[in-house]
Amino acid sequence: MTQVDSDKGATGAGGAEPGTEPGSRTAVEVALQRSYRQARAVSLVREAALLPVLVALIIVGALVSPVFFTVSNFSGIGLQASALGVTVVGESLILLIGGMDLSLEGTYGFAPMLAAWLVVPVAAFGSGADLNPHLGLLVLLLAGAFVGLVNGTAIVKGRMNGFIWTLGMTIVLAGLQNGIPKAQTLFALPRAFSYLGSAYWGQVPFSLVFTAVIFVGVGLFLRYHRGGRAIYAVGGNAEAARAAGINVDRVKISVYVAGGTLAALGGLMEAGRVSAVTGQQGYQEGVIFTVFAAAVIGGVSLLGGKGNMVGAATGVALLSIVQNILDLANVSSYWIEAIDGAVILVALMMTRVIGGKASQG
């Protein structure tokens, strides 16, 4: 076999293969294309690697509790998943540029706390400023964007280590979150404030619709907008992007700003869902670990440049369903965290086994 192969090549070198040489480049390309299409098909299977896991989970859920397969349960899952989902979009964008932001959980708690404190009456532990709730929403978004801007500027322009910087930032924000209302829980949120997290459109939570729009919008932006493509280029190879005329610093800082804003929105949803802003929301709940887990399970690379919104959404759905099943199964709250963590580890291993390098990058 071997000998024959080599011999054929040698004859070709001598020009004794009439008819094959002129088209050899196209022949090579055709062969390349065929094997590449196969590789692509394999990679599509890999991208859908979490779907069977989701299906399996849904079956498990149905077996665990008759309540699982009801519309109200699913809309409950949707409600819970939304706050997480929007924050995961923010973190995914930051991961895509090769960054990392632990302070999204700080913003997730701090931004709604600041806004609610300005809005709710003194009796509900507000500041007494009695700000118009719509202005309050603006404050919330600006607070998220501002934290993102500070982070982005410090990390990109000031060359701070992103991990440590945002770790410090998240602790600062958590402190402010408790310090501003003197460690009280703010309630009596006005309707405009809680609408996003608590309203239903028929059986469908409004927050789910909103989150879906965010996922689709950001997904399309990443795929079809020059800004989105610049994010991939910067995350894939910042130097090459810079040499191609992309303003790398601006792209990075913008992404941190977007991440902070999305985390603030996520916090608003959570506040609306529980009709209060607590000191625990965000940092003390350890939200960021779930956020990271969802993004990474969904195939967003920690090294930057790789991942998409379909994957991130799958990751969010997976973790939310697991959480729901654990709740329905009445697992003792002492054990729930251990199981939650174990599920993350197993899901990660599964994406690694089924999806090859998908989650490692």
């Binding site: 076999m1 071997t2 000998q3 024959v4 192969d5 080599s6 011999d7 054929k8 090549g9 040698a10 004859t11 070709g12 070198a13 001598g14 020009g15 040489e21 002129p22 050899s24 480049r25 090579v28 390309e29 062969a31 390349l32 294309q33 094997s35 590449y36 299409r37 196969q38 590789a39 079809y224 907008h225 020059r226 800004g227 493509r229 610049a230 991939y232 280029a233 894939g236 190879n237 130097e239 090459a240 992007a241 810079r242 040499a243 191609a244 005329g245 992309i246 303003n247 440049g305 790789k306």
Partner: protein, 529 residues
């Protein structure tokens, strides 16, 4: 049946290392199809082939990094150890890879003895390690590298010396050198050749992978040629002509094309734009400091349609000057104007806007984004033009823009949607060049555009650069240490120690005169050849 018979003098002797009937499919590429070759004690086998021919895959398989799909590797007639048994592989064969495998945070000595540190029961004996490293470095003439220096402070070439020293210090009987001279300077290459010859004379088996055919003729006893994953030629270098070797590498038709392209470039169809072109690049009294070599008070002009070569050794300031013109390098004094627009240091986006197309020195670091497609990388510089006012960028429009670029540069890929990281080195470089010329630049700055690129790709790349000047009046600034690149130039400026020491204005340039100026053998007066 053509008999492919290696090392006729040594038939019957058990090879130190051999690959037998190796097949390997790698991702989407059929890398190797039934390749057999053997390494014998006291002989140096040259392995050549175009980028993507399968050389690197064969090296990986023979080094025990990946396993073959079919076939086997043998050492001294014994089956190769299990892939997982890294130590057993390292005891049999040492490989110096094309891409740096030094750990920049560690010192030279630590890298030389990486995972084989001298000492007792796991404790490293630093004194012996440093002394041994010094001895090895001195023995091989790498005296400009200090054993205690952190590798991060070394230049690219010094890091490669460390890698070579690592293989040599291990004292293996079988050595694989994967394009060892790609980043070395002439004097060092000479030393390396001497050492390789000495090694071979001492009975070591060497597999020498190279793009430079001269090197193969100089140091190799035998040569094996890979083309499209198959072994197409294997014989002693004695009695083999360079033309035969080139033909084997690229196939008869491409070889003819290459020769024609060369002939045309060397021929009489001279640069029409040269005499009456306006300057598109003006560099005035530029001084810059850089690890790549300082530039001292350099003034230079490139006119429209003019192809100017910038030649010099590594560290002579050639790359620094070119990077400054592309906006990637800061400078301490002087000014750079492109089309009358003054450039700003460290602002490549401004240079791009002023009309500079840039082909960076290190394509892996700056040339492309591995995970993104051929189409997207090729058009990354013209997103402004392709995107709608709202910034929407349709893949259809992008591909329509990328298609002619890919055709013009003969980029061989499975399609515009294939990630560039999956392509061979030559095709990656073509993508880098496509990206630079996509903007229809007024000036193209290319740094060593053909380094590590096969013969046919080289011809294509040079022809594209040359035709830009000829057909579109683009100025070309070609910074290189490869004399072959200079055949397309109308004028060559030679830098030494950051200063212009010679200028050649009359092509074809004499090789000897160029080398003399570059190496500093001519004295410091301005030569006009």
């Amino acid at each position: 049946m053509v008999e492919i018979q290696q090392q006729p003098a040594l038939v019957g002797e058990v090879p130190v290392a051999e690959a037998i009937g190796i097949h390997k499919q790698f991702g989407s590429t059929l890398a190797l199809r039934g390749v057999s070759l053997s390494l014998h004690a006291g002989r140096c086998l040259g392995l050549v082939g175009r980028n993507g021919a399968g050389k690197s895959t064969l090296v990986s398989i023979m080094s025990g990094i990946v396993g073959p799909d079919r076939g086997q590797v043998r050492f001294d007639g014994q089956r190769a150890p299990d892939l997982a048994d890294v130590r057993a592989w390292r005891e049999r064969i040492s490989t110096v890879f094309q891409h740096s495998m030094v750990v920049p945070q560690l010192t030279v000595a630590e890298n030389v003895f990486l995972n084989s540190q001298p000492g007792r029961s796991g404790f490293v004996d630093w004194k012996i390690m440093r002394a041994e490293t010094d001895r090895v470095l001195a023995e091989w003439g790498f005296s400009d590298v200090a054993a205690g220096a952190p590798c991060a402070t070394l230049t690219v070439e010094q890091r490669q010396l460390v890698e070579i020293a690592r293989a040599l210090a291990a004292g293996r009987r079988c050595l694989l050198l994967d394009e060892p001279t790609a980043a070395l300077e002439r004097a060092e290459i000479r030393r390396l050749f001497d050492r390789v010859r000495a090694l071979v004379a001492a009975g070591v088996a060497v597999l020498y992978i190279s793009h430079h055919l001269e090197e193969v003729f100089e140091v190799c006893d035998d040569v094996a040629v890979l083309r499209d994953g198959e072994l197409v030629l294997a014989q002693a270098t004695v009695g083999l002509s360079k033309d035969e070797l080139v033909t084997a590498m690229v196939g008869p038709d491409v070889a003819a094309m290459t020769t024609t392209a060369r002939a045309r470039e060397n021929g009489t169809d001279g640069p029409e734009h040269r005499d009456h072109g306006r300057p598109c690049l003006v560099v005035e009294h530029l001084s810059a400091v850089s690890a790549r070599g300082a530039v001292r008070d350099v003034s230079l002009e490139v006119r429209h349609g003019e192809r100017v070569g910038l030649a010099g050794l590594l560290g002579a300031g050639v790359a620094t000057l070119a990077r400054a013109v592309a906006g990637n390098q800061s400078w301490t004094s002087g000014r750079i104007e492109v089309e009358g627009v003054a450039l700003v240091p460290r602002r490549p986006d401004k240079a791009l806007k002023a009309g500079v197309g840039y082909v960076p020195e290190d394509r892996r670091a700056e040339g492309f984004v591995r995970v993104l497609s051929v189409g997207e990388n090729s058009t990354m510089t013209i997103v402004d033009r392709l995107a709608s006012r709202l910034g929407v960028l349709l893949p259809r429009l992008r591909n329509a823009a990328a298609r002619p670029l890919a055709d013009r540069l003969s980029i061989v890929s499975a399609g515009l949607s294939q990630p560039v990281g999956e392509l061979s080195g030559g095709n990656q470089q073509k993508v880098t060049v496509a990206r630079a010329v996509a903007t229809a630049p007024k000036l193209v700055v290319a740094i060593t555009p053909t380094r590590g690129v096969d013969v046919a790709s080289k011809a294509t790349l040079l022809e594209v650069l040359s035709s830009l000047a000829r057909d579109q009046g683009t100025g070309v600034l070609l910074a290189t240490d490869d004399l072959d690149d200079l055949v397309i130039c109308d004028r060559v400026v030679v830098l030494r120690n950051g200063e212009i020491v010679a200028e050649f204005t009359d092509p074809p340039f004499e090789r000897e005169a160029l080398i003399g100026a570059i190496e500093g053998l001519l004295g410091d007066e301005r030569a006009t050849a």
